[in-house]
Symmetry: C2
Subunit: 231 residues, 2 copies
């Protein structure tokens, strides 16, 4: 067996399917360090359970749970503000949905990069999806490119941290297939923006996920209150 | 009197002299919204008092206190990790000092931009100082330029937020003079990285501040345990 020590990568793990598959991809080449952000979302408890379940599955010791509840204080999103309704899925809609948390990924990545600099990690992975996404501006490839340039300017000269978005051009169906191919524990993940016991099946996030499984021709292993057909 | 409503600017206010003078400058053209970041620094209680005192002075209603204590969990800095000694001032030293909190300003600005996007603010001001600074990479002008480009990519198309660093090329003496010229409440500010009752006078931050007042030929109105001469 090789005794070469792998470089560390920090993975932003929400507990959802996308971050789980991203972790599976990163684990092929890196030692994993898992960061989870609690930004005051409705389903945080359930997401944190998934985060820890996935971390256990991959035997990840380095775990950091970051309280970003200021994002809930700021408001402006149905994910964190109970006065704003969670949009029902409208997958043809090109507007930015109410679930958009302003500049969320910049907050997540900044914390991950701080940790990565201390760990001497070489990469930060985030499971952002652009093509099949809900239209969040902070999921665009150009955003991550700009962020990577900003890291170079804002960290020590010896720090070399890449931002990796390995599934950014994947459809949800491709994410499902990649997860199954890599043996990722999709049964441990949570994606619903609305419920914590059974996934609702009708919020944006559930709709995108279910459609992905349906296109891939695979049964989603988690429980749903409703399983509409989206294809 | 004009009834024109001023645009809002979010100001990152630590409670130190630099952010106080930055707020004074921003207040010339903007309605002020004050954000304070608790990143688990030793002197947070005292800094928060200064934040609120300065906000009271400027009649600021919009206040946001952000708990970034994950930066303390991450460690890597003498400001947040009690196992790392606060460096005694060595103003000729060109190394990055132990007080460097990895990628701190990216974390601060990300939160401020999230809030600014919800408030429909047009600018985020931060009192970073480069020329006379302690050598933090996330205080370089190139860092702020890269950050501003990243905002364009990561926020809604309708969002237009500039990053303003009005004192970045000021010496500490110039900051003192500008603060006095604008009537900024320097007596309410706190800069010491070490103590909360009386400023120590010997940490990096105290040394830079005292030298600034000494060069400006003005008495620093706050209390010090020791007032070495730095010029």
């Amino acid at each position: 067996m090789s005794k070469d020590k792998k470089d560390i990568a920090v993975i932003a793990v929400s507990g959802g399917m996308d971050s789980c598959v991203t972790a599976a991809i990163a684990g092929l080449n890196f030692e994993l360090a898992f960061a989870h952000i609690n930004y005051g979302q409705r389903t945080e408890k359930r997401e944190l359970k998934s985060f820890n379940d996935i971390a256990d599955f991959y035997n990840v010791d380095k775990r950091l749970v970051i309280d970003y509840t200021h994002l809930a204080k700021i408001g402006g999103s149905s994910l964190t503000d109970k006065n704003i309704e969670v949009t029902k899925a409208d997958l043809a809609n090109k507007e930015i949905p109410t679930s958009y948390v302003p500049f969320r990924n910049a907050n997540i990545l900044s914390a991950c990069v701080s940790w990565a600099e201390v760990l001497n990690a070489k990469a930060v992975f985030i499971g952002a999806v652009y093509e099949d996404s809900s239209g969040y501006p902070d999921c665009r490839p150009s955003f991550f490119e700009a962020f990577e340039k900003m890291i170079v300017e804002g960290t020590k000269p010896s720090t070399k941290i890449k931002i990796e978005t390995p599934i950014i051009n994947f459809s949800k169906a491709e994410i499902v297939k990649k997860g199954i191919q890599l043996g990722a524990p999709l049964n441990l993940t949570w994606s619903c923006y609305q419920n914590e016991e059974e996934a609702c099946g009708i919020c944006d996030s559930c709709a995108l996920r279910l459609r992905g499984f349906q296109i891939a021709g695979v049964d989603d292993p988690i429980k749903y209150a409703a399983r509409p057909v989206y294809i």
